[in-house]
Structure formats: structure tokens, C-alpha cells
Amino acid sequence: MKETKLYEEKVVDAHEEHHEQSFIRKYIFSEDHKTIAKQFLITGIFWAIIGGAFSFLFRIQLGFPNVDLTSLSPIIGNWLTPQGKIDPEVYLALITMHGTIMVFFVLTAGLSGTFLNFLIPLQLGARDMASGFLNMFSYWFFFLSSVIMLTSIFVEGGPASGGWTVYPPLSALPQAVSGSGLGMTLWLVSMSFFVVSALLGALNYITTVINLRTEGMTFFRMPLTIWAFLITAILGVLSFPVLLSAALLLIMDRTFGTSFYLSDIYIAGEALSNQGGSAILFQHLFWFLGHPEVYIVILPSLGIASEVIATCSRKPIFGYKAMVYSLIGIGILSFVVWAHHMFISGMNPFLGSVFTILTLIIAVPSAIKSFNYIATLWRGNIIFTPAMLFSIGLVSFFISGGVTGLFLGNSVIDINLHDTYFVVAHFHIVMGSASFFGLFSGVYHWFPKMFGRMMNRNLGYVHFWFTFIGAYLVFFPLHYIGIAGFPRRYYSFTNFEAGKIESFMDLNVFVTIAAGITFAAQFIFLFNFFYSIYRGRKASQNPWKSNTLEWTTPVNPGHGNWPGKIPKVERWAYDYSKPGAKEDFIPQNVPYSKTPESNLPEDEHH
């Protein structure tokens, strides 16, 4: 565990006053939710670097298809053709791994694993998760899954290359593409462990939120972060088992020769004996997970944004209950829209129209959330911390990416746009960039609580502006390329009519350059992150003047979080700038009896 060692020195002095545990129990096989959160974060960062680097590699192929990459051969060696171009099958493997890594390993495990673990006990006033033991297992199953996925990149034949959705029959038949051999087997094994990890985590998160809230922490006093995390965990418990089913049947088809997904196949001059299966079954099972999964990715970020925007606007969150109900609404709707990924799979048009309507209804809770973020910012006493900028950036991406969802969710327009770069543009903005921005926002905001030091603010600003402008420059032009009809996942567009490919070449060059700059800018963050763990300015106990309980713990909370009694919760989390109050924030543990000057008539009932 190289990552763990990076911050061991720091944490050692923080823990001095506590009972001694062995090094291994404290930093490697730790049951402390804060340590597990950091393990998830650092493993997630590791994966994000790989996933980002892969995307830059295939962007080179798309922007500069004739460039000679021979100089890179010491690093990527046999991934190149003799002409120094990226091998077509490697290209497919790169896009597959980029998707798998970013969706599952970074934005599910890295994001949920970090903030759900870190914040649920701290913000609810619990000493730890319901089961620290299962929590530890959750991380180590994720680690095992990571090791297997990482291994698959280096095996003969390369990693899985049928796209991150691994549709059969491409993924079921080793003769279909070289990545469908050992690479695909490892993908399935790795993802099975990943599901186990996600489930163990989610079981713990739900149990902790329901059962381990401190005295006075009723459901409607919970910070919106916790609401978002709770819904995320519930989605995980209900949807990840379905991915396990899908993977199980695929494993059976691959290893034992069953026909769950296969029928009437003629490949490489050979007719296969498989009869009676259906490749569409896989799509149904996969997207029954896959659609809730995109909300598993975005909801924690929306929760983080609620907290950061309210704190840094010095205003109560606008429409607390509306926010809660729209989270629940998004959660419920996420289970009845999966077939909008399958409009062109030959489904009954009537069924398509049902899924269209259900999909478009998601615009309602999403719009409520966007409106409430903006209304919270409106005339607030805004403090532009880096976390705040990233949260505002999230709102921007959530809106501009969400709008294109209205087109894609419509089964008629989707006939034209399906599997084009328009889809790529849509989900990279609304799901990818938005949840990445939530992740960054969370790291900047809770870094002082995690490591007892502050990240450098100016580097944060530079990082934000490069990433914010960069992400738009990368993903916005893809809309045009998509509307022009360019399909996603293609290695090259040689079959396009003369003139068409050339007329969009400059846009592809532009996107690739923007992607390179944006990717490079992430190293500012990496430097800031690791440098600040050791050398950052020492943090005060409540650097953002925030109301939630985590800021009532010591600067470096030990095992058990609060040295003495757990604070009792007396009010909701959003008493910012309350008229008449001495300060512009009243933490959740301050009773109404201590604030007679600012109590409203209805507060007297508490």
C-alpha cells in the first residue's frame, strides 16, 4: 500500500493521544471510516490518472490520426502499429477501459467510497460506521478488483475492448475481438468483486444513516449531503445485484457455452450451435443497473454542492425539503427509465414512448435542484473558495448537460443521435464533468478535516479555471460532431463521404488540444493535494464557518471522532445569516435556548 504510506507521518502525530494500534491495523487494514475514506480517495486518484491518460491517448488518434508516436514506445510499446499509430484494437481497449475506470473506479468507488465513508459518521454524530469490519472489507474488495482490472491491461490480447457496456455477443465470444479473451474474463471477475465492494459499502451506509444518528438528528435535520448519500446507497443496493446477474450469465456463456445471450451466430466462417438466447436481455439487465448507476455517480456530487453552496453563500439552502423530495424523486425515477438507452434495439415504439415520458419527467426534480442552487446563490454573501467555484461549476454543467438529455431522452430524436458524439458530449458534461466537479469541490472543502491542513487557495483557483473552461472546450464541440453524424467509438472515419471528415477535422484537433491542456491542469491539483498533506497551512477547527457536526470534532479527529460525548443536535444544518444572530452561522449543536436573539416564533416549539 504505497498510497497509505504517503500520509502516514501526518496521521501518526494526530493519533498520538489514542490507544496504540499496530501500523497495519491503523493504516492498512483499518476499520476507521476516515482512514478507509482516504484509502478510497487515493486509489480513486490513481485510477483517475490512468483513465485520463487513456482518454488523451485515444484523443490523439482522433485529432491527429497521422502523427507518429514512436517516441512514446518505451511507455506504450506494442500498443503501436509499425507506422507509430495507435493499434485499432488497442484503441477499442482504451475507450473501454477509460469508460470502465471513470464510471466505476473513479466516480463510484472514488467518489462514494471517499465522501460517504468520510462524512456519514462525522455529519451524523456517529463514532464510526455500523460495521467497521465490513467497511474494511469493502475497501479491500475494491482493491482486489482494482488489481485485477489493472492486471487485465497488461495481459496478452489486451484488456476488454467491447465498450464499457460490454454488450454480447461481442464480449461473449473470444473470437470476436482480441480483448474478448482473457481481458474480458478479468473484466468480469474484477467487476464481480467491485459489486461485492459496492454492496458492502452501501449496506453500511444505509444502516449507519438509519440507525446511528446522534440524539436530535431527525431525518429532516440531516444535511443534504447525507440525504444524497443515503439515496445513492439505496440505489446501489437495488441496482448492483442486477449487474452481478448480468455478469453471471455472461460468465456462463463464456466459460460453459450456455446460450443466455447468444443465438443464431455466424462468426469467422463458423456457425455456432447456440440457440434461444437474446443479446437484448443483457442490455436490459445492464441498463437496469446502468441507469441508476449514473445517479450513483452524480447524486453524491449534488449533495456536496448543496452543502458547499449553502456554506459559502452564507445563506440557508433554498427549499430544503424540495431538495430532499427531488433527490427521492430522481432515485425512484432512475429505476424506470433504463430502456432509453435501448431505443434503437428494436423495441416496441409504444414501449419507447412510455420510457420517453418517464425519462423526460426526470427533468422536473433536476430542474428543482438547479433552481434551488441558483436561488441559494441569489443575493448571498458569496465567498469564492475553490470548493465553491467547483460547486458552481457543477451547477453549470448539470444544467448545460441536462438540457441535451431532453433531446436524447426522446425516442424519435434518439434514432438520429444514438451512439453519436452527441451522446458522448451529453454524458461527459452532465455526469462526467459535473460529478468530477463535485469530487473536486468535496476534496477542497473537506481537506482540512481529512488532513488537518489547508490546500493552497491560489493553486485551487488556477486549477478551477483551467478545468472549467477546458471541460467546456473539450465537450461542447462534440455536440456538433455528433449532430453531423459521427458515431462514437470509431477508430477512424475513412468511409465518410469526401469532404465531410475534413470539414470536422479542425474541430477534432481543437478538442484534442483542449483535452491535453485540461488533463495537464489536473497535475496542479495533484501537486496541491499531496504537497498540502505535508506542508499545507495548518487548519483551524472550523475554517469555513460551517454548521455541520464534523467541524465540532478536533482538527485531527482520532478514532471515535469526538474525544468526549457526541454532540446533541438542536437544529437543522442551514442556520446561516439568521436575522438577529451574533454571527452569520449557528452550528447544529447550539440549542435554541442559547440563541434567544435570533429565534423565530416557530423555533420556540422545539
Partner: protein, 189 residues
């Protein structure tokens, strides 16, 4: 923690709650597999399978083992350690026999010409009973853990959480099989 707060905040033993959520997530595996099976049965070109007689026997055995498990729980509640251990063992043996009879059921299926590799109408029966069997093994291990604790006199009327968890889980697995059996029965006539 005073009583007033307890009434305001829903509280349950976290570990028992964990078991319930765990059962929900297992249910989702079977919900997805069963719905896939139902859709498959609705398509033309399939065939009906006559369920092996052994599946009828195994259903009876697994219900019986659940009854023993419940009796074990009652014994623990009454601090009757001797019958606690006997009933735990009986339910464990019931579970083991269930697994063995399921295996015989598979042999019956193969003899009847229904193979795992072939048309999904047949394969699904193996998948559903097989995935259930894997979960049943985890339930058996859980009973063993409870048995070891009961030998050490760590399970008694003041400490029922562990046996409650394992009993709930065991009943769930019984119910699951009965549900699968009825579903398979009605989709094959």
C-alpha cells in the same frame, strides 16, 4: 440515550438491519433473473420442463429445516441450551440434505434431457437453483457460527441478536426457494 430520543429516531440493532438490507440486495439478483426467465418463457421456440420430483422433496426438507431453526431460536429465548444445540444441528443437517437433494434434482434433469448448456429455458433452471444453493451455503456457514457461539454459551435470552440474524436469513432462503419452485412450476405447465 434517553427514551424520548429513542422514540423520535427509528432505531434497530444495526447488525439486524444490515441483514435485512443484505436480503433486499439478494432479492434483486433473483428479481432480475426471474424476470429474465419469465420474458424468455414468453418467447416462441422454447420448451416446458417437467420439474424433477427431487425438487418437491427438497422444498419439503428446506421448510422443515426452517421450522427447526425457529425452534432453536425459541430454545435460546428460554435459555434451553440443550435443545438449542439439537435444533441448530437439525436445521444444519436439513440444509445439507437440501443441497444434496438439489444435486439429485440436477441429475434428474440431466437424465430427462434438460442440460445446463443448451436452450436458456433449461439453463435458467440450473442458474436459479444454483445461485440459490450458493446463498444457502452462506446460510449454513452462518448456522455453524451460531452453533460455535452456542457451545461457548454466548447465545442466551439476553443475547439473541446473532441467532435472530441467522434465523431471519435462513427463513429468507427457505422462502426464496419456495418462491422459485412455485414460479418454475407455474411457468412450466
Amino acid at each position: 440515550m434517553n427514551n424520548k430520543t429513542k422514540s423520535r429516531i427509528l432505531r434497530m440493532n444495526p447488525n439486524i438491519f444490515l441483514v435485512w438490507i443484505f436480503m433486499i440486495s439478494i432479492s434483486m439478483i433473483f428479481v432480475s433473473l426471474v424476470s429474465a426467465y419469465i420474458v424468455k418463457k414468453g418467447e416462441p421456440g422454447g420448451f416446458n420442463v417437467e420439474l424433477p420430483l427431487m425438487f418437491y422433496y427438497s422444498s419439503f426438507i428446506v421448510v422443515l429445516s426452517s421450522v427447526f431453526k425457529q425452534l432453536a431460536y425459541y430454545s435460546a429465548k428460554k435459555d434451553n441450551f440443550k435443545s438449542l444445540k439439537i435444533y441448530l444441528l437439525l436445521s444444519f443437517i436439513g440444509g445439507l440434505s437440501f443441497l444434496f437433494i438439489q444435486y439429485l434434482g440436477w441429475v434428474n434433469l440431466v437424465d430427462g434431457g434438460v442440460y445446463f448448456v443448451g436452450h436458456p429455458d433449461g439453463s435458467f433452471i440450473y442458474i436459479l437453483s444454483g445461485v440459490h444453493a450458493i446463498h444457502l451455503i452462506s446460510g449454513l456457514i452462518f448456522i455453524l457460527v451460531v452453533y460455535v457461539f452456542s457451545i461457548k454459551f454466548k447465545i442466551h435470552s439476553k443475547n439473541l441478536n446473532l441467532i435472530e440474524m441467522s434465523t431471519t436469513y435462513w427463513h429468507f432462503l427457505t422462502f426464496l426457494w419456495v418462491y422459485l419452485f412455485i414460479t418454475l412450476y407455474f411457468y412450466n405447465i
